[in-house]
């Protein structure tokens, strides 16, 4: 979720009933799509094939920054089996802003901006023929100087990546690569620092990481000369695919029908387009034949949307008793060669969100570099911000000999706190997560030599967003829910549980389908931890509408006023003795006769969902650092997080564990490594090393439930917060184990060993 996508809230309202007891919500039934996914039947992006289908391959830039002088596609066009070739100039001209940037990233026009940037594409009768033909395309490049590092990209002599994209707030005289500047805060900063007993200031750096979803991007696109088309695609948001492809190709959105496949992971990386529009452009050129485009892993790592790399200054003031008096940050983040992609604003907003502070000040720079166009990655910006701030807080706790949990409890944000980023928090659960962490047996575990413990907190806003849901009653009293948020981690199960609870019918009488773009109004993607929150909320409202109609049908049959009918346990009942004596009319009975009582019964709700509840978490990690190799082993890991209400606790735990594992990878192993020519050196899983089963212990979880009053079942959204604390928690544990403060991620054995040696050698 990019910052500019945060929509104004148009609906608030507190709907949570804290006295209600639940029959289905909070249970752990089997997920409805489980059988398909353990038998290999579930259809993901690359599993789709249609008649007359062609296969695409993409030619990519081997240079970090170059002008395209000439492209000769004639040999490729003449190759056997080739049906279409497209290059950047085949796409319509005249786009501006974000649409232009999407188009430039889809296929380079004048310049290539990074190693892996798409330059041309071929559709042929087989994947091998397409791959062979791509090699026949001849491109003449004029090499340009490039820049990879964010701090280097801001220097006066840095190569200019783009002209004319500098935002109006950027201070005069800054390099054109600095495209956005932001500054905000409140309170008297200088007075705050003056009141502190200890003021510490340090610089932290993080490297770019990739979401690392196991399923590469894949689609089958079909587009006729009449501008009507279809697409099958793995995505977090089919309407975003429609909107973006339509913009890039100059199509009318409603003429493009987008069907989401099952999705093999996304973590934010599948909320935008990369090569989807290429398949449509090829299809149109090939007379409307469908074109399948499946990325390789190297293409995924080189040319989709990793996260920003960062350079961050933090300054904090603290009293001897642990009271934090003031804090300021300056974050410099690169998000690739296009503006607005680095999550600088969200990182700033998250930086001090866990603290109640009298004075805060934030400065941020969005900087261009010759790297791929960044995309969202799980709590965009928050993990980096947490690394900088929570590491520095830990340094101060050590220096003042204070307990890191007690210091966080002393300063932690709670209901009524004016958040560091402006609003006043309502009910939030940070304190409860700290209490639960303190009480957990992991904190009693004794640490041996070379072992250390680290604590950190984390935060994510969560998101509501544009949502449209329809529920339809089947003729046997079962219901179908049409939802628009792809099920990326069990959301069908959680939506079905909420619908079953609201209607009072069994869980397995509810089928949740993720539908194509023609079947519902616009839905934002499964992003911002919003699927269970917003789709669930709209599904409950859809239930309420259907219940109202079912009560009306019963009232009509009984000849009483519809207000005299109430719904409970899956049936219409007369509301009290005054309404008359009638046996309950079950949903099944109403469904069986609905054709005669007024026609089909459904419920529908659409909204820009408000009432979002923030989610805080506290992580505690124990590590052992091998003093001879510098290798860090995770011994114990504890995630405590406020879910609001866990609809299906197993999948809430799954989000906590998965977020922690990604954070562990980010902290210890994962990074984009470039050579001096600006080429990515590790675009395979062997070298871009994500955590494997033998790297990790069991990941302990505690679900704290401080219900969100803005959701009928108290849901907050749990997907993202869990990736934020691991970065600093592990750094803090390594500092505890070794006495070495690591301020540059990832904390690889090489770096840790170097730090240990430097410390030992004084």
């Amino acid at each position: 979720m990019a910052l500019d996508e945060v929509k104004p809230v148009v609906e608030t309202g507190e709907s949570y009933d804290s006295n209600k007891e639940f029959k289905y919500v909070g249970t752990r039934p089997n997920r409805p799509d489980g059988l398909d996914k353990v038998t290999g039947r579930a259809k993901y992006g690359a599993d789709h094939a249609v008649a007359n289908m062609l296969h695409a391959a993409v030619l990519r830039s081997p240079h970090a920054h170059a002008r395209i002088v000439k492209i000769d596609t004639s040999k490729a066009e003449a190759a056997e089996g080739v049906k279409a070739v497209v290059i950047g100039t085949d796409l319509p001209e005249g786009l501006t802003g974000g649409d232009l940037h999407l188009q430039e990233n889809t296929l380079a026009r004048d310049k290539v901006y990074y190693d892996g940037h798409a330059v041309a594409a071929v559709a042929a009768t087989s994947a091998l023929a397409a791959k062979d033909a791509v090699k026949l395309i001849e491109v003449e490049y004029e090499l340009l100087p490039h820049v990879i590092d964010v701090d280097e990209a801001m220097k006066p002599d840095a190569p200019v990546i783009r002209e004319g994209d500098q935002g109006p707030t950027v201070p005069e005289g800054m390099h054109p690569n600095v495209v956005n500047y932001m500054e905000f805060g409140h309170g008297d900063l200088e007075a705050g620092f003056a009141a502190a007993d200890l003021v510490l200031e340090n610089t932290f750096k993080t490297e770019a990481t990739h979401q690392g979803y196991i399923e590469p991007h894949a689609c089958v696109g079909q587009l006729g000369e009449d501008g009507k088309g279809e697409m099958w695609v793995c995505t977090q948001g089919q309407w975003f695919i429609r909107k973006m492809c339509a913009a890039v190709l100059g199509l009318e959105a409603s003429n493009l029908r987008v069907t989401p496949s099952e999705i093999g992971g996304g973590f934010g990386g599948k909320t935008t387009i990369f090569s989807e529009a290429i398949s449509l452009a090829l299809s149109r050129k090939a007379g409307g034949r469908p074109v399948k485009l499946v990325m390789t892993r190297s293409e995924v790592l080189r040319a989709t949307g990793p996260t920003a790399s960062t350079s961050m200054d933090v300054k904090i003031g603290m009293k001897k008793d642990g009271t934090i008096t003031a804090g300021s940050v300056e974050f410099r983040m690169q998000g690739g060669a296009w503006p607005d992609m680095a999550p600088t604003g969200m990182a700033l907003n998250c930086a001090f969100a866990s603290y109640d502070m009298p004075a805060v000040h934030h400065v941020g720079y969005d900087v261009l570099a010759n790297r791929p166009k960044a995309a969202a990655y799980r709590a965009p910006g928050s993990p980096m911000a947490a690394f900088a701030v929570e590491s520095l807080v830990d340094e101060m706790c050590r220096e003042l000999k204070l307990d890191p949990i007690e210091v966080r409890m002393k300063n932690g944000a709670k209901e009524g706190t004016k958040a560091s980023y402006g609003p006043t928090f309502k009910q939030i659960g940070l304190m409860q997560t700290l209490e639960a962490a303190k009480a957990h047996p992991n904190l009693q575990a004794e640490l041996g030599p070379n072992q250390g413990r680290g604590v950190a907190c984390g935060f994510w806003f969560n998101h509501g967003g544009e949502t449209s849901v329809t529920l339809a009653l089947g003729n046997d009293g079962t219901v179908t829910v049409s939802a628009g948020t792809p099920d990326i981690g069990g959301s069908r199960a959680s939506v079905a549980l909420m619908v079953a609870e609201t209607l009072g019918i069994p869980y397995d009488h509810v089928r949740v389908n993720i539908v194509e773009t023609g079947a519902l109004g616009f839905n934002e993607p499964s992003h911002g931890s919003r699927a269970t929150f917003a789709t669930g909320k709209a599904a409950v409202e859809s239930c309420n509408q259907a219940i109202k109609e079912m009560c009306r049908r019963a009232a009509k049959k009984w000849g009483i006023d519809e207000d005299a009918v109430e719904w409970k346990d899956g049936a219409a009942h007369p509301a009290g003795p005054n309404a008359g004596e009638f046996p309950p009319m079950t949903i099944k009975k109403i469904a069986q006769s609905m054709g005669r009582s007024g026609g089909p019964i459904s419920g529908h709700h659409e909204t820009t969902a408000g009432g979002v509840g923030e989610s805080f978490g506290t992580h505690v990690v124990d590590v052992e650092v091998d003093p001879e190799t510098g290798k860090t082993t995770i011994l114990r890991y504890l995630v405590v997080q406020d879910a609001g209400r866990a609809i299906h606790p197993s999948y809430v735990e799954g989000q906590y564990q998965g977020g922690a594992a990604q954070g562990i990878g980010w902290a210890l192993n994962e990074e984009y490594v470039y050579d001096d020519m600006g080429r990515l050196q590790n675009p395979v899983f062997l070298d871009y090393r994500v955590p494997v089963a033998s790297d990790l212990p069991m990941i302990d979880t505690v679900i704290v439930e401080v219900p969100n009053p803005g959701h009928p079942y108290g849901v907050r959204g749990v997907g993202e917060t869990g990736i934020t604390p691991p970065l600093p928690a592990i750094a803090n544990a390594i500092a505890d184990a070794t006495g070495c403060r690591m301020r540059h991620l990832p904390m690889t054995p090489v770096k840790v060993l170097k730090a240990i040696k430097e410390r030992v050698n004084g």
């Binding site: 997920r31 038998t39 196991i214 093999g264 799954g654 899983f685 994500v690 069991m698």
Partner: protein, 160 residues
């Protein structure tokens, strides 16, 4: 175009034949020639294990073997794991333990875990973790996967 190779092999107990390009992997042949799309390509370099199948009982990444090499072999894929409509205990336990989120790594992990339990019916947690170290999962942090495998192993030992 290159000459196609005719391959006769056995997949999940059924005799099958297909024509493939000499450069096609076994994974390509399974997915594109035989429409068995349960095995996935996550990397194409043998690092992620999403394409795991067994060939004559040996666990392999089907992206690292050529389709032509399947001649005369016996191949088992995720599609053959449930027998006679009855799920293998591992499949059942994966659903019960919520051991999958997106599910794209699940077929490969199930094939790999079944192969482990055939060799070692009583593995330690560490043995399960090292056996599955070649199967990447990005969603779960592996916790529930390991629990599901250990639980299935226990149930299978009880039934044996």
């Amino acid at each position: 175009m290159s000459n196609k190779i005719h391959v006769s092999t056995k997949v999940n107990g059924d005799e099958v034949e297909f024509l493939c390009d000499p450069r096609e992997t076994l994974l390509d042949a399974l997915r594109d020639r035989l429409n068995l799309t349960g095995a996935k390509e996550g990397c194409g370099t043998g690092d992620c294990g999403a394409c795991s199948v067994t060939v004559d009982g040996r666990l392999v990444c089907s992206c690292l073997m050529l389709g032509a090499e399947a001649e005369g072999k016996e191949i088992a894929t995720i599609e053959g794991m449930a027998e006679g409509g009855e799920l293998h205990p591992l499949q059942r336990k994966f659903i019960e333990h919520a051991a999958l989120q997106c599910g794209v790594c699940t077929p490969g992990i199930l094939v790999a875990a079944k192969n482990l339990l055939e060799k070692n019916p009583d593995p330690t947690e560490e043995q399960v973790r090292y056996w599955l170290a070649g199967n990447l999962c990005r969603c779960t942090g592996y916790d529930k996967i390991i629990r599901a495998v250990m639980d299935a192993a226990e149930e299978m030992r009880g039934a044996a």
